[in-house]
C-alpha cells in the first residue's frame, strides 16, 4: 500500500448479476484527498460501483487498485483494503446488541489490536466530532435516525481510514435529520478526507465535491466539476436526470 499514489484506480470494471450486466466497463481514478459525488437514477450501478471498492460485491472483470494495492482473489488484499476504507450505509447498519461506544471500539480492538482504553478514547473523540458524545452508552435502537447515521460515521472514522465511502447516507432519513448528517460530512470534507459519496443531495455536491460523476445503465455517462455539471450538463441523460432531481 502506497499512500503517495492515486487513492482509487479502477479500469474496465465489469460486474454481472446473473445475466444482468450491472457495471459495463468503468474507468475511474480518484486522487488522494479528492471528494467525488456519484449520482444517477436508481439501478444505474452507482452503489454496486462503490461496493466493489471494498469488495462487498465481487467484480467479474477489470482491475481495482486502492493506494496501489490490486484487489484480487487474495484474501489478504481484501482485508488490507477494508482496514483502510471506511463505509457508511444507507440503513446505518449499526450493531443493535452493542452500545454506541462498543460499536465504535469493536473493529479497532479486534482488527487493529488497539487496547480498549485507547480505542475508547479515540471513539469519544470522534463521537464528539459528530456531536453525540452524550449518547455513548445508549443502544442504537434508542437513537433517532440522524443520530444513528452520525454514530455510523464515527464508527467508520474510528478505524482511521484513508478513504470513506458513503452509500446514500441520507436517503433513509426524515427530512429534518438530513442536515445534521450533511453538516458532519461537510466538516469531514474540509479536513481533507478522500470521500466517494453516492447521494442525491445536490446542495452537498455543489458545496464540497471536486468532481461529479453521473452514471446510467452501468456506465459513467458524464464526469465534470460540479459548477459545470449543474450549469451545463452535456449529456441528454444527465440533463433529464438533473431536471427530475432539481425539479425544474
Amino acid at each position: 500500500m502506497d499512500l503517495n499514489t492515486d487513492a482509487i484506480a479502477i479500469s474496465d470494471l465489469h460486474k454481472y448479476y446473473g445475466r444482468f450486466h450491472a457495471l459495463q466497463g468503468i474507468n475511474l481514478t480518484i486522487r488522494k484527498g479528492e471528494k467525488v459525488v456519484v449520482c444517477g437514477p436508481s439501478g444505474s450501478g452507482k452503489s454496486t460501483l462503490i461496493r466493489c471498492i471494498n469488495q462487498l460485491e465481487e467484480h467479474d472483470a477489470g482491475d481495482i487498485r486502492v493506494f496501489g494495492t490490486l484487489l484480487d482473489d487474495n484474501v489478504g488484499s481484501i482485508d488490507e483494503i477494508r482496514r483502510e476504507v471506511g463505509m457508511v450505509f444507507q440503513h446505518f447498519n449499526l450493531f443493535p446488541h452493542m452500545t454506541v461506544l462498543e460499536n465504535c471500539t469493536l473493529a479497532p480492538t479486534l482488527v487493529r489490536k488497539i487496547s480498549r482504553a485507547e480505542a475508547e478514547k479515540t471513539a469519544m473523540r470522534f463521537l464528539e466530532k459528530v456531536r453525540i458524545p452524550d449518547q455513548a452508552h445508549k443502544f442504537p435502537g434508542q437513537l433517532s435516525g440522524g443520530q444513528q447515521q452520525r454514530v455510523a460515521i464515527a464508527r467508520a472514522l474510528c478505524m482511521q481510514p484513508h478513504i470513506l465511502l458513503f452509500d446514500e447516507p441520507t436517503s433513509a432519513l426524515d427530512p429534518e435529520m438530513i442536515a445534521e448528517v450533511l453538516d458532519v460530512m461537510v466538516s469531514l470534507a474540509t479536513e481533507g478526507m478522500t470521500m466517494v459519496c453516492v447521494t442525491h443531495e445536490m446542495g452537498f455536491a455543489r458545496k464540497v465535491a471536486d468532481r461529479v460523476i453521473f452514471m446510467d445503465k452501468g456506465e459513467i455517462v458524464e464526469e465534470a466539476p460540479p459548477e459545470e455539471f449543474f450549469s451545463a450538463p452535456k449529456n441528454e441523460r444527465s440533463k433529464l436526470f438533473l431536471a427530475q432531481v432539481l425539479g425544474h
Partner: protein, 392 residues
C-alpha cells in the same frame, strides 16, 4: 325489575355466565375427587399424603443416588425427578449441540454440507420420536451378549449396556464435581459475554474467564479426591468376566437409547430454529462488520452469533420445554423418570388423585422454572430500543 330487563342487564348477564362457568368447573373437579375417594375407601385405602412415608416395595432400575426396595415413596419420587432433570439436561445439551451443527450446515454456503444437513433434518424430524426410540432400543438389545461383547477404546459394548472405564469415587463427589464444572463454565461464559465486563481489556477479560473456569476445575478435582476410597485403585476398567462384565461403569441401554433419541430428534428441530435465527440476522449488519475489516470468524462470533441467538431464543424456550416433557417416553423402554415412578406408584399404591396432583405439580414446577430462567435470560439480552433497518 321484570324478567326481560333482568336478563338484558349486561352486568348481571356477565356475572351469571362467569358464575356458571366456575360452578361447572368446580363441580367437575369435586365429582372426580369424591369418586376417587369413594373408590379408595372401597379398597380400604385412605386418601391424603401419609403414604409418602411408606416403603415402596419395588426397585428403580436407574438411580443417581443409592436406593433400596424399602425406601419410602417420597425418596423414589425425588430420585425420579432427579432422573428426569438429569436426562433433560443431557438431552437438551446434546440436542443443542447437534442443532447448532446442523443449523450451521444448513445456513452455510457449502452445497454438500447443506444437503447433508437437510437430509438429517428431514429424516429425524418427520418420524415420531417414539418410533425412533423403539428403533434405538431394538438395536441396543440386538448387540451381542457380554460373552461376545465388542471392545472399543477401553469400553465394552453389549446388549446389557455399554461399560466404560470410570473413577472409583462416590456419586455425590461426581455430582459435586460436575456441578462445579457447570457453574465454572457458566461463569466463564458470563464474564466473556456480559455487558458488565465489556469495557475490560480483551486479554484481561479472557484471563478472568479462564481463571473462573480454572477455579471451578480445581474445586471439581478436590471433590473427586475427597470422594475417593483410598483403599481402592483410582480407576476401574470393565472386563468380560464369564457371562457378565465386571468393573467399569455401566450405561444402561434404557438410558442411552432415550438420550440418543431425544438428542437426535431434538437436534433436528433445534437445527431448524438455529437456521431461522441466522436467517433473521440483517444482511446490513454483516456487510457493515465486513466493511470494518473483521475476519469471518470475528463477524461470526461478534455479530452473527449474538444476533442470531437473540432471534432464536424465544422459540428455543418452547422447544426446550417440549423436549423436557419428552423424557417421559422413558416409560416405553423402562427408564425410571419422574413419570414412570408416578405410574408405578399408582399401580402399586392405588393413590390416584394424590399422585396425579404430584405429577401435575412436578411438571408445572419443572416447566415454569425452566421457562422462567430462559425468559429472564431473554429479557436480559433483548435488543434495546426500536429496531429499524434491521433486515435489509
Amino acid at each position: 325489575m321484570d324478567r326481560a330487563s333482568f336478563w338484558r342487564s349486561k352486568t348481571i348477564r356477565d356475572g351469571v355466565l362467569q358464575a356458571a362457568f366456575l360452578a361447572a368447573l368446580i363441580g367437575l373437579v369435586l365429582t372426580a375427587v369424591l369418586t376417587a375417594r369413594a373408590n379408595l375407601a372401597a379398597q380400604g385405602l385412605t386418601s391424603g399424603f401419609d403414604f409418602l412415608w411408606k416403603s415402596t416395595g419395588w426397585e428403580m432400575n436407574f438411580t443417581l443416588l443409592h436406593s433400596e426396595r424399602d425406601d419410602p415413596y417420597w425418596y423414589f419420587l425425588l430420585l425420579g425427578l432427579m432422573n428426569t432433570l438429569f436426562m433433560g439436561t443431557i438431552g437438551l445439551a446434546g440436542a443443542s449441540v447437534i442443532g447448532l451443527v446442523v443449523g450451521l450446515m444448513r445456513s452455510g454456503r457449502n452445497p454438500a454440507a447443506r444437503l447433508l444437513g437437510t437430509l438429517y433434518i428431514e429424516l429425524f424430524r418427520n418420524l415420531p420420536l417414539i418410533v425412533q426410540l423403539f428403533f434405538w432400543y431394538a438395536l441396543a438389545n440386538a448387540l451381542p451378549n457380554p460373552r461376545q461383547a465388542i471392545e472399543f477404546a477401553g469400553a465394552i459394548i453389549s446388549s446389557r449396556g455399554i461399560y466404560v472405564p470410570g473413577l472409583t469415587v462416590t456419586s455425590g463427589a461426581v455430582a459435586l464435581a460436575v456441578a462445579a464444572l457447570l457453574i465454572g463454565a457458566a461463569l466463564a461464559i458470563w464474564i466473556a459475554t456480559a455487558r458488565r465486563f465489556r469495557r475490560m481489556e480483551r486479554q484481561r477479560q479472557r484471563g478472568a474467564a479462564l481463571m473462573a473456569f480454572g477455579l471451578a476445575a480445581l474445586v471439581a478435582v478436590i471433590a473427586l479426591v475427597t470422594g475417593h476410597d483410598s483403599t481402592q485403585p483410582w480407576t476401574t476398567f470393565p472386563a468380560v468376566d464369564g457371562l457378565r462384565v465386571s468393573g467399569g461403569f455401566r450405561i444402561q441401554p434404557e438410558f442411552y437409547c432415550l438420550a440418543i433419541a431425544i438428542m437426535t430428534y431434538g437436534g433436528a428441530y433445534i437445527g431448524e430454529i438455529v437456521r431461522g435465527g441466522f436467517k433473521a440476522v440483517g444482511r446490513g449488519q454483516m456487510e457493515a462488520s465486513r466493511a470494518l475489516g473483521l475476519s469471518n470468524w470475528q463477524v461470526f462470533t461478534q455479530v452473527q452469533m449474538p444476533l442470531a441467538f437473540r432471534a432464536m431464543l424465544p422459540i428455543l424456550i418452547n422447544q426446550y420445554v417440549w423436549l423436557i416433557k419428552a423424557t417421559t417416553l422413558g416409560i416405553a423402554v423402562g427408564f425410571s423418570d419422574f413419570f414412570m415412578v408416578i405410574a408405578s406408584s399408582i399401580n402399586h399404591s392405588g393413590q390416584t388423585i394424590e399422585f396425579i396432583s404430584i405429577l401435575v405439580g412436578g411438571f408445572l414446577f419443572i416447566n415454569f422454572s425452566l421457562a422462567a430462567i430462559l425468559n429472564r435470560l431473554n429479557r436480559a439480552i433483548a435488543l434495546k430500543g426500536h429496531q429499524t433497518g434491521g433486515a435489509a
